[in-house]
Every structure is written in C-alpha cells, then in structure tokens.
Symmetry: D2
Subunit: 120 residues, 4 copies
C-alpha cells in the first residue's frame, strides 16, 4: 500500500486505522474502480488489526472478504478502521469501515467490510 | 487500473478478461496485501462484463463484492475472467475468477469473486 | 419463521430483535446445518430492521447476505439483532448479530451477517 | 433439513445435489423469508460436496457463506447443486446454485452461494 501513500495512523490490540490520499491513482474509471482502493485499504486495516492480536513475527492472510460500497470515495483522504470481532484458535473474523474525509474534515462512510484472516 | 499496467484482453457480451503483470507494486506485505490486487482486477473484469450488457455510454458501480482467496498470487501475470451470471432489471449479479500465470504459462486459480453491479 | 417458534422481541426505526428456541428442528446434522437457522433468524432481523425505515405496507427482499459463523449455536435460545447501517434511495445495507443464550442467561456471539435489502 | 422434506438426490466426489418441496413451511413472509430456505438448502449441498472429499466419519462446518438471491423461489421444488471449487489443506472453498423447478419441469436459478467449509 506504500505506493499509494498509505500510512498507519494507529495500532492497538485488535484495532488498526490506516489512511491514504484520494488521488488519480486510486480514482475511478467507468464508476467501479474505486471499489479496489476502498477494498485494499479496508482489508489492510483489518489485517493489521488481526496481526495486533498475534505473536511478534506472525503474518496473516485474508481467507475471504466481503465489501459493501455505500457511497462514492470522494474527498481528500480515505480512512479505514479495522477491528477484530472474533479471534478464534484457527480463524479470526474481522470488520472494517472505510470513510472519506473532505477538505473540511467531514467524514462519510464509504464502505463496510467483513471477512476472515488466518495466520500465514 | 492503468497505473498497474492492467489491460483488457477480451470483451464480449457478458464476459471480460483483464490482465496485469505481478510486480512489486501489487506485491504483498505481511501476507495480506495481495488480496487488494486480486480484488481490483477481478472486480474490474466483472464490471466490464456487466458493462458489455448495457447501453453505450452506461457506467456501472459495484454494490458489493465477496472474494475468496485460494492460493498466493505468485507468477508473472494475473488474469481475471469476469462474467455476468444474472442480468436483472435493477441489479446484475457477476462472478470472476482470478488466475496467476507463471513463466511457463501454467495457470492456477488465485481468487473467486461473486457480487452485484448496478447502473451508475 | 413462525414454524420454528420465532418471535419479534423488539422493533424500532432501523433496528429489530428476533428470537427463537434452539430445538432439534433447527439443530445440526453433520455439523453444518445450524448455519441455516442462524442465517434465517439473522436475515429476518435485518429485514425487519430495514422494513422499519420504509413506508407502511412496504416489503423488502434480500438481495445478498454474507454470514460468518463464529461459534456453535448451543444453548436455549437464538437471538438476532438486526440494524440498518446505510439506508440508500435504492438499496439498504444491513448488519445482524446472532447470539446464543444459555439456561443461565449467558450470551455468546454465534454469527455475524452483512448484506443488502431492496424494496419489494 | 429432514423436517422440510429435504433429500439427497446425488452425491459424488466434490459434488452433491439436494432438493426439497417448496411449501408453506419454507414460504416467505414480508418478502424476505425465502432467503433462509434457499440458504439452508444451498449451504447443505455445499457441505455434502465438501464432505465427499474428506475421510469417512469426517464432519464439516460452514466458516462463512455468501448468498446472492436472483429470482423468487416459486414453483414445486427447490434443487441445490453444491460443488467444491478448491479443496485446501485447512479450508475448502465451495459454491452452490439453487434452482426452482415448476410443475412442467422448467428450472430457474434462484440463488448463488460461495463460501468456506472447515473440517469439524
């Protein structure tokens, strides 16, 4: 995600916040491309949230992820808040909310994700 | 997707094939980033497949999309085959398969997507 | 759902709680049948939550629904809490949590749902 | 599922077909209840398909399942065709198609499922 200027804003046990600028690089073409940017940021936030509950040096893989897109990703920055909703022995269930923040700091939900992570 | 070297390999009524090189830009970090690349290519292939059944000048939006990741995106190119499985009056249901192709041309399923598109 | 003894425990704008007894009728066989009961109750709670934001006499249909099963549905009653997370002009995005309640009143998350409803 | 008159029509390695009558017991109320019947039959077909690739005596659990509902479940019988699309060491990815069959034997797709099974 570094190529898109994504950064980690906060990390805690079972929670992570990532953000990146909304630029042409993640812009949309024919209306559907933005799904990819929202997915990537939300999935990464969910992955970091899951990592935060594992041992040092662990890695996680996305098993599956569902995204519902609820508004256009318009504004200055995309912010993704990931959280672990169920840390199991084998599988970890995660959710993430992706928000767009405009120049005045107003936040609007853009996408909701729900999926499963597994230790790599 | 152009920034990643993605291209349209074929377009037909209700079907589309897209591909892009597997490079560091879409590579993975901590194991989960590749989900974003597979999602973006698969979602785009599904979107073009849906577009192919609409009037000229139409655009589509992803309402929701689910991805199951079944193998690492390792190899030279990612290929996504999108298809419309149900074109409804209001909503279009799509599926896509993402494959990784290695230097010898061997293909391996990487991800399976199922979701909903809507006219923009 | 009436055949399973399901009842509406509460209805509010954009929220609904349903419950039903856990009995042999919704029990599991080969381990996977309980998914159906949790899905049906969660989907119904989400549907009633969506209905609560529509005009009198409206009906809703499930467009798509994703369920993550996080624990066995063991106990006395299944309770599903549905909520609208985004009421759009054409589509409504919903979530539901299904919990199992044991004889001592302890509650445990069983399943998480996220999906889309549309006016019928 | 036996309580609904569900039966196994065929079982093979990685494939299973189940069916049940469409009756008041699985009928819909407020438009959304049929999702539960289609889900339960499709999920069961997918589960039996996964079981068919496992050792005798194994059981499977649904980790997560996504359903897209594409037409009303109207007719005489519901038929669900489940298949394994990827049998992994830890996780098995499955798909199912649910069809409604009318009195003249005409078949119509009702729902498409995609999800993950795990050995119990």
């Amino acid at each position: 995600m570094a190529a898109f200027g994504a950064r980690i804003d906060s990390l805690a046990r079972g929670r992570a916040v990532l953000s990146m600028p909304i630029t042409a690089a993640v812009g949309q073409q024919h209306g559907f491309a933005h799904a990819g940017a929202s997915f990537a940021l939300g999935d990464s936030a969910a992955g970091y949230a899951a990592l935060g509950l594992m041992e040092d040096g662990a890695e996680v893989l996305t098993v599956e992820m569902k995204i519902n897109l609820v508004a256009p990703a318009a504004g200055m920055r995309l912010v993704a808040e990931g959280e672990v909703v169920r840390a199991g022995r084998r599988l970890t269930v995660v959710r993430a909310t992706v928000l767009a923040v405009d120049a005045e700091g107003r936040r609007r939900d853009v996408a909701l994700l729900q999926g499963t992570m597994i230790p790599a």
